[in-house]
Subunit: 319 residues, 2 copies
């Protein structure tokens, strides 16, 4: 049962999350590059969540969720279905609290991700690689163990946690004109929107989405959730469809969604390796690609870009 | 002519250098990783000079040299011979002061490095790819233009500047037991030795060298400079032979030199990409490889590792 304070995501819930996760997650560095400023014409501040624990911002939301649980609920553990960054993040958060993390992973998940979850003490159940099977298996574990479901993005505590990345960025650079964050399930971007609006009502907020998985763009255009049925993008972290909570936040705030092609995503990813000397995953590159998108008219602006993660197979770099 | 203060590299000259280069170079972040701590058994602090301007620590020494020049000397500019990180660093430092940087580059230098020097306003002269030709060409330019030679490593001002990386690291983590830095020409490691001894007489200092270019190891063993005649290593930044000034510093201090194989260097490089999410060049990986060297007995120690640079061709990663 959710207590009153988490019945919606507001600025205060992000401030609360920030206090709660202190000491459990890194305060990631913000990097700048003269070369990228010259390329984009903007003054760019990269929030390096690729350097976050487990290699992505997901530990923010996972820790906020796990640390919010009552003692009674916590002792039964947490459960999620994810083959990606949220699974590792939830395992780490659960370990912090000494409680079990049940992870439902689709058969065929990459070996490195399975290893990562195992290393962090996750209790893995494999299932067929369909959303229906994943949800059914997680629900069955939830009933059997009384563990609390921590959804990767459609969860108030998770979204509040993800918003703390933008909060940190704005504490260091309060005069940003624009923040760009990638959009998949929408946890990071909707948290960013609430955090940024709470700090500065005038800040421009841009969600960056692959053209091959542009369900957030479509959903906002049609005013209803339009799921991504067969997403085609290298940005594996952004293949999920926008969640209901994120959708409600995005449609009630003045935001923009921009879409980028696969070619632009790969070129941006390589540029960040070459120029910033950072390993980022394709999902993080989507926001970087937007920097060079002339339609956004970022010239002369101070722009924050959230580099969401750095988990990528070094034997399969896409260039 | 050199003034008295730069007749040797001592702790004060490093403190002076640090004041001089403030605002011109980044204070680079120090990163940690639970996974790498587990792998090595040590508590490791990575000083990220790969995130430094121009992608390497070389801007520290170059700025110290250029900003030390008198107005009269400065107006004639600076000259060096380098196909690597020092060339770009010197161009940036010269641009800061609005003076010309003459760069002698061997024919066949990588196109990306030529482009980088050009972008930073360097005035390039190409020469035959031999040390004799490089030195002769630089000397000819020096005489013609009255520019000051800023050697990549055998220069007191350069070494003092390079020592500021360790100074910053020890300001953040004064209780380190060990510092590891790579050794090529020896500018970085000798500067590190002077800085660290000035802060803490008990700190253990380890220079990491490729087995295929182990001239520092040989030189200290035989008590005289033993040049690396045909270095065979992927660590292009460490192919230079130890300079006289660095040699004098190293042999008058209790230090260790450790050598690592090419296989160890490549594996360490890939691990840093995968785990720390950082792009490092092979030269930086040599020090990382030492972390896993059981002969060094680093278990339980607090170890600083200077990641010297991140300039590597993304189309030619060595795995």
């Amino acid at each position: 049962m959710q207590d009153k304070i988490t019945s919606r995501v507001d600025y205060d819930s992000i401030l609360d999350a920030y206090k709660r996760i202190q000491g459990h997650v890194h305060k990631t560095p913000v990097l700048t590059s003269t070369t990228i400023n010259q390329m984009s014409g903007a003054k760019v501040f990269f929030k390096c969540e690729n350097l976050q624990r487990t290699g992505s911002f997901k530990v923010r939301g996972a820790h906020n969720a796990v640390l919010s649980l009552s003692e009674t609920d916590a002792k039964h553990g947490v459960v999620t279905h994810s083959s990606g960054n949220h699974a590792a993040a939830l395992c780490l958060a659960a370990r912090t609290r000494g409680i079990p993390a049940y992870i439902v992973m689709p058969l065929g998940s990459p070996e490195t991700k399975i290893e990562s979850v195992k290393r962090l003490g996750g209790i893995i159940t494999f299932c067929e690689p369909t959303l229906v099977a994943r949800e059914a298996e997680a629900e069955s574990i939830r009933i059997r163990t009384q563990a609390t479901l921590v959804h990767p993005y459609n969860d108030l505590r998770v979204i509040a946690g993800q918003g703390t990345a933008a909060l940190e960025l704005l504490e260091m650079h309060p005069d940003l004109d624009v923040i760009i964050a990638p959009v998949g399930g929408g946890g990071l971007f909707s948290g960013t929107v609430v955090a940024a609006r709470g700090k500065n009502k005038l800040i421009r907020l841009i969600g960056a989405e692959p053209l091959g998985a542009s369900d957030a763009f479509e959903s906002l255009k049609y005013g209803k959730l339009v799921p991504s049925l067969s997403p085609k993008t290298i940005a594996d972290g952004l293949r999920a469809s926008l969640g209901q909570i994120a959708f409600d936040i995005l449609r009630s705030n003045p935001i923009e969604i921009v879409t980028q092609s696969e070619q632009e995503i790969v070129a941006a990813m390589k540029s960040i390796f070459e120029i910033l000397k950072l390993v980022i995953e394709p999902s993080a590159a989507v926001g970087v690609a937007s920097l060079l998108n002339p339609e956004l008219k970022l010239h002369g602006k101070k722009v924050g870009v959230i580099l969401c993660g750095g988990n990528v197979d070094m034997d399969k770099l896409p260039w």
